[in-house]
């Protein structure tokens, strides 16, 4: 009984001594579970915290290959009902020293996506204060898509203009040949066939009498 008390005291002493907010090796984490998941949100409890410590250990293992980090290497303190807390990472090789901030940051940056997925959260809802998420660069296609749309519309309009111009030219040419034909025909139509243009004198209508009878 007394041993258990002593162990508990010792453990909490270690924690109280080492894990402090605003320590040079500590990071603050903030989770916004309800914002991310709404109705599907899970409640934050000690088990979730254990998972968190496990994923962080996983991240450290990946980064510093060879060193087998464990849940006990991740120290957590100052939990709030916001669901935010501070954590620090103890070294495997030397349990009294802490891993520097830069290494922790790099480890987290590498495995960020895995850490987010473990909690069904995103870069914005699982925040590590001080570690800026690397934003995904937007996909840039080879030809800008607007040029394609532009090319299509320009092609259609250009084809329309060519059609109208050609139609106008064809119509004009057709009209000109029609006019020319008409002129050529009209010259012969207006002439009367035959040589005697004065007409033939019809004697049946003339009177030999020089003096009209009353």
């Amino acid at each position: 009984m007394l041993e258990k008390l002593l162990i508990l005291l010792f453990a909490s002493n270690v924690l109280a001594q080492v894990c402090m907010p605003d320590a040079p090796e500590a990071y603050k984490v903030r989770l916004s579970i309800k914002t991310a998941l709404g109705d599907q949100a899970y409640t934050w409890n000690d088990n979730e915290l254990y998972l968190f410590r496990a994923t962080l250990a996983f991240a450290m293992r990946n980064y510093l290959s060879g060193q087998l980090f464990d849940v006990s290497n991740i120290l957590v303190c100052n939990e709030t009902e916001r669901v935010s807390f501070w954590f620090m990472v103890k070294s495997v090789t030397n349990p009294t020293t802490l891993i520097e901030k830069q290494h922790v940051e790099n480890a987290i940056k590498e495995s960020r996506h895995r850490i987010n997925s473990a909690f069904l959260l995103t870069d914005q809802t699982l925040e590590f204060l001080g570690i800026l998420p690397t934003l995904a660069s937007p996909f840039v296609p080879a030809t800008p898509p607007w040029l394609i749309a532009f090319g299509v519309v320009m092609g259609v309009v250009g084809a329309g203009i060519v059609y109208f111009l050609v139609a106008a030219v064809v119509q004009r040419k057709r009209k000109k040949t029609l006019d020319e034909e008409e002129e050529a025909k009209g010259a012969t139509e207006n002439e009367i066939a035959g040589e005697n243009l004065d007409g033939i004198y019809n004697t049946s209508f003339s009177d030999d009498e020089k003096v009209t009878e009353m």
Partner: protein, 589 residues
């Protein structure tokens, strides 16, 4: 045999009405009227607006149609026929129309640019491009909004002021080229092709507006905008600028003085009943303005509500993170109560974040009124990014803007080409060639607006190129035609009955007096306003800054106004000199 070729005509009176509607219903109905409505007391603004419609809008519209139909020529020929000394009025119209053509198609170019950019999975103006180290957005985009960044940087590549310039923006130049090519396609055969195109350009925008109305009023928070707009603030009626703005809006919205209406009606049959058509088109134009402003305000309300709720959300997050409260304790509804509570219980900690605490005010969001290109390309695009299926709404919206702009362009270009064709010198040239030359000429000059400082020149043309000159021209029109020429007898000739007493009163007294009052107001405003200013985009601040025009800018403004207005006295002088010479045997028509 072809010398006395019959003048081209509209296939039916319906084409003429649709052409006038297509011309008059333009971008101003969508982006100027809602702004005025908001500035001058919402629903109450309709009173001066409708009053001005009947006092000056309809009578002046009727007058221009009468002139064109009687003279059966474009503006220069028509005025020269009325009196050789008045040919300058027509010339001034053509010059003003030329300025308008130069800068108006740039807007169509922008509409094309935005339309083509809507065919992407993510609308490019909804997110910021990233900075070099990919940790945060570009600085200019951060201080401004993504939609502003896209308009000012990626679309215009705007320079800090009008003096600084650079090379032509290739994308803009291509879109302007397409705009002119399309304009040419619509007018290539003159009235024959224009008459068919207007069936589409006049009717399709209404379909889109109706679809947008349904979408708009079903948006979250749209009701806020509509109630804000329609709550009349009657005290605004006491403000004289309300009445002046109503008068100028009616005047410019109907497109009077450019010569387009004269050109359109010159292709009418002699006995066409334009009296009814004038009333119909004017009423349709005003009705469309009111209709468009309902849509605009529904969208405004949506955007303001979204911004307000985002502001509340940011505040909530700030409080939660600072005071480590659980997520579901503060909601959007009780954020403001919590602000009070935390301020009183933890004044020290609250003081630390006091500079980050924003005041979220829905009325303030609603009252940020915007007009012009800012409304169309920034505010509206921002609202669209928040709608579901934003690509579809974006395509529909910019297509509608394009149709509205193209429809007005038809009238603008016809106003230049018809008078040119009437000159005997040019009657030998084929129609297609003449149209093509005019389009290419305007395109080449318009390329100047695609340079980095181009938007400032555009604003200059927009503000000064047509405003004063038009009032001057139309005043001349009304006074000379009703008093000196005596149009009333010709109307009886054309329509079969003399004009109503209403028309006679308006032409004789009311409309000229109104125009003189507007002219005086403009002159006073210009003198009192000091140096003319423009809005320059400041890259570091991410907002527009009021800057004075440099000397060459002011000189150019003066040139713009003088070049069109001086046509009237100069032509009168020229005609007088020709008359004085005994060998003057000029035949004008």
């Amino acid at each position: 045999m072809e010398k006395g070729a019959a003048r081209a005509e509209w296939d039916s009176p319906v084409q003429f009405i649709l052409a006038c509607v297509s011309y008059a219903v333009g971008l101003g109905n969508v982006w100027r009227f809602p702004y005025l409505c908001q500035m001058h007391g919402g629903g109450g603004f309709l009173i001066p607006y409708l009053l001005m419609l009947f006092l000056e809008g309809v009578p002046l519209f009727y007058l221009e149609l009468a002139i064109g139909q009687k003279m059966r020529q474009g503006s220069i020929g028509a005025w020269t026929a009325i009196s050789p000394y008045l040919g300058g009025v027509g010339l001034a119209s053509v010059v003003t129309s030329l300025y308008l053509c130069l800068y108006y198609n740039i807007i169509n170019g922008w509409s094309f640019w935005y339309l083509f950019h809507s065919f992407q999975a993510v609308l490019p103006w909804s997110t910021c491009p990233l900075s070099a180290n990919r940790t945060e957005p570009l600085e200019e985009c951060r201080v401004a909004t993504p939609t502003q960044y896209f308009f000012y940087r990626e679309t215009l590549n705007i320079s800090p002021n009008i003096e600084t310039n650079g090379g032509i923006h290739t994308g803009q130049a291509l879109c302007l080229l397409l705009a002119w090519v399309m304009t040419y396609l619509f007018i290539v055969n003159g009235v024959k092709s224009t008459g068919k195109v207007v069936y589409f350009t006049a009717t399709f925008p209404y379909i889109v507006l109706t679809v947008y109305l349904i979408r708009g009023v079903t948006l979250h928070g749209a009701v806020n905008g509509i109630t804000y707009m329609f709550t009349p603030k009657m005290e605004e009626l006491a403000n004289p600028s309300t009445w002046i703005n109503a008068a100028t809006q009616i005047f410019f919205s109907l497109g009077l003085g450019f010569g387009s209406l004269i050109a359109f009606s010159s292709y009418n049959q002699y006995n066409n009943n334009f009296e009814r058509q004038a009333i119909i088109v004017s009423l349709i134009n005003s009705g469309t303005s009111i209709f468009a402003s309902i849509v605009t305000f529904a969208v405004y309300g949506f955007k303001a509500t979204v911004n307000y709720e985002n502001c509340l959300d940011r505040l909530r997050l700030l409080l939660m993170n600072t005071f480590n409260l659980a997520e579901d304790v503060i909601s959007q509804d009780n954020v403001l109560d919590w602000v009070e509570k935390l301020n009183t219980s933890y004044p020290l900690e609250f003081a630390q974040i006091a500079d980050k605490v924003e005041t979220c005010d829905l009325t303030k969001e609603l009252s940020t009124a915007v007009e012009g290109t800012g409304l169309a390309f920034i505010v509206y695009s921002e609202a669209i990014t928040n709608m579901p299926l934003s690509q579809l709404w974006s395509v529909l919206y910019f297509f509608m803007l394009l149709l509205l702009g193209m429809g007005s362009m038809l009238g603008n270009v016809t106003a230049i080409i018809t008078p040119i064709k009437d000159f005997k010198m040019f009657s030998g040239i084929s129609e297609e060639l003449l149209n093509g030359v005019v389009c290419i000429f305007c395109l080449l000059l318009g390329l100047g607006f695609t340079t980095p400082s181009g938007n400032y020149w555009f604003t200059m043309f927009n503000d000064y190129g047509a405003t004063f000159s038009l009032l001057f021209i139309v005043l001349f029109e009304v006074v000379t035609v009703s008093y000196i020429y005596g149009i009333k007898r010709y109307i009886e000739d054309m329509l079969g009955h003399p004009p109503n007493w209403y028309w006679k009163i308006m032409w004789g007294g009311v409309s000229p007096l109104l125009l003189i009052a507007l002219l005086i107001f403009y002159i006073i405003n210009y003198i009192r306003g000091g140096t003319p200013t423009y809005q320059a985009w400041n890259q570091e601040l991410g907002q527009a800054v009021v800057t004075e025009y440099p000397v060459f800018g002011q000189v150019f403004i003066a040139l713009l106004i003088v070049s069109s207005v001086s046509c009237v006295p100069m032509t009168a002088l020229y005609a007088y000199c020709r008359r004085r010479r005994p060998s003057a045997t000029a035949v004008y028509t």
